[in-house]
Symmetry: C2
Subunit: 351 residues, 2 copies
């Protein structure tokens, strides 16, 4: 097998055009220092030999790779995929390159990936994941590497984040259910590790209850460790389904459930249906995220919409701004949420 054919270097162009190396560099980098006809000669040579500046060499010299790292917990999760899609859009238009890694919320895997990327390689890092270990991020911060979190934020360290007001979103969900006549409102969530979003949502749920003078009933609240079992990557739907199968048989049901993700809501609804409990006639369900399948479920899922793509877009733009020195503060950008009313919530006549 023949070798990869070697591409022409800046030297070859200089020789071909009969000019100095630096002249070629100026032309290639659009520095307006070169006489027009010299420029033409150079461009002709570039074209003839098909010269492309060597990305690696340039990076070594400039200490800039035009590459950003994106670390997510699971790219096959529709919520995440949508965020990444937004990021990709920006990366593309601003001519950066995006490196992707999945961690499945495994802290050591996250650390490994961050180390690989950070190691004099990426210009900035975007994290849509959340290990329980803030020490990992401390190192990045210490290196002054641009770092932006999406759908996460740090508790103790100052951080740049694109988030929604998770507590408020949940509070509004409770309000909505309350306004529809529900007085027994259940809650299904991952257990509370150090993920701020999960904690905030829970506090929003509790706050919503209090605000509407509803008693907190632990029978109605499920926050099971199984959700975060490392062996069960990306199987949230199936886990919820199984979990709820048990739950339904052993406990009293509320008239409505709030879930922290549409995926969990899907699992819940299936379990409910399988036990001949009608949604929304017997039990109402409200999801979170507004992923693209909600409209196609039976019943179509009422949910709290997160501006997923916009979160990706905003996060990536902010990161690139920071990289380019346009923006250096520890911003905390809060994007709006909205309850999308479909058919999985039914109003209960008051009596």
């Amino acid at each position: 097998m023949s070798k990869k054919s070697k591409s022409p270097s800046i030297r070859d162009i200089a020789k071909e055009a009969g000019v100095a190396i630096s002249t070629v560099s100026y032309v290639v980098n659009n520095k307006d220092l070169v006489a027009d006809d010299t420029k033409k000669k150079v461009l002709k040579a570039v074209d003839k030999l098909g010269y492309k500046p060597n990305f690696i060499a340039r990076s070594l010299r400039t200490r800039k790779t035009n590459t950003v790292g994106v670390i997510v917990y699971d790219i096959s999760n529709p919520f995440v995929a949508q965020i990444v899609r937004g990021m990709e859009e920006i990366v593309k238009t601003r001519s950066y390159i995006m490196v992707l890694g999945c961690t499945f919320n495994n802290a050591s895997e996250e650390e490994r990936q961050i180390n690989v990327m950070v190691n004099q390689f990426i210009d900035g890092l975007l994290i849509v994941s959340g290990s329980d270990n803030e020490n990992i991020y401390k190192k990045i911060l210490a290196k002054k590497l641009p770092l932006v979190f999406v759908d996460r934020e740090l508790e103790k360290l100052p951080s740049t984040s694109i988030i929604i007001d998770n507590a408020l979103a949940m509070e509004k969900a409770v309000d909505y259910l309350f306004s529809m006549g529900h007085r027994q409102i259940g809650y299904i969530s991952y257990p509370m590790g150090k993920q701020t979003t999960i904690k905030q949502r829970y506090s929003g749920y509790v706050r919503g209850l209090e605000k509407n003078n509803l008693a907190y009933n632990s029978d109605y609240v499920i926050m099971d460790e199984k959700f975060t079992d490392k062996e069960l990557e990306g199987k949230d739907m199936d886990i919820t389904f199984k979990l709820m199968q048990d739950f339904i048989k052993t406990r009293k049901l509320p008239t409505a459930f709030i879930t922290i993700s549409d995926i969990i809501a899907y699992g819940l609804i299936k379990a409910l249906k399988d036990n001949n409990i009608k949604v929304p006639d017997d039990v109402s369900v409200i999801g979170f995220d507004n992923i693209m399948f909600d409209d196609y479920m039976s019943p179509p899922l009422t949910t709290v919409k997160q501006p997923k793509k916009m979160m990706g877009i905003t996060g990536m733009n902010l990161l690139l701004d920071i990289i380019e020195g346009k923006n250096t503060e520890n911003k905390r950008i809060i994007l709006p949420t909205e309850i999308i009313k479909r058919q999985s919530v039914k109003s209960i006549p008051l009596n």
Copy 2:
């Protein structure tokens, strides 16, 4: 704001340990040429200064980046996301880095991305997309850059591909429907551009019809240009839904539909339901891909399973093998499919 703190270079380590640069290099790269106590000294210095070899410099020198490019048409498509997830798994275990780009089946965007990546930057390329323009790939092939297609293959050029037998899969779908008593079998697909998968599936559909002595009825076949409208990125479900709304009102329906993706099946089913046509009682539907939501639809979707994650795993392993020189032939790996029987297909009693 202070500058990014500069990391120590191999030179710093050499100085600290009182040895030559090359010695440090040997130690760092595990070349067994160094005396044990010299090694210890070096390692100590490495540890003390927190030295990490500079990835970029190394790449410049070795002409290897340990980076592979992955080009997909849409990361937010669950089928694609699952493939990418498989790839990510392998990338991780074989210590490569993965760069991702989405093209939305836009040929010029695909070309742009390929150019960016190929430009002396990636060690190999994995494509899960398919422009109509084989010229783009010719260039890559000419450069001898390792290139693997997943769920695609080239028509005129020899290529390395991980695919399923699309024609056979569709033929089996027809067989299955026939065995369930269906004699009017419709087909919903993207229009046939140059994508081999789409063509092959269609030919499988036709073959299945012939094999079972069923007449081809163009009234039952929908292959609309709207599916590939560039403006409608990733909206297959909604497009199908609208398309079928019209279709249902104007044409006679078959007793069963085969679709080329689960996503399209979802759109179809919703349109059917909205028009009070029951699935599967009035019309059966069979999807393609077996994405993770199938089980949660009403009715759960019968579908042709593609081994998505395995396609990603196999493709990435093959690509890395080629990069590492373990494997250089133009392989064409065909992975098996399987009909997953759920509840969207009903048997029709023969009369």
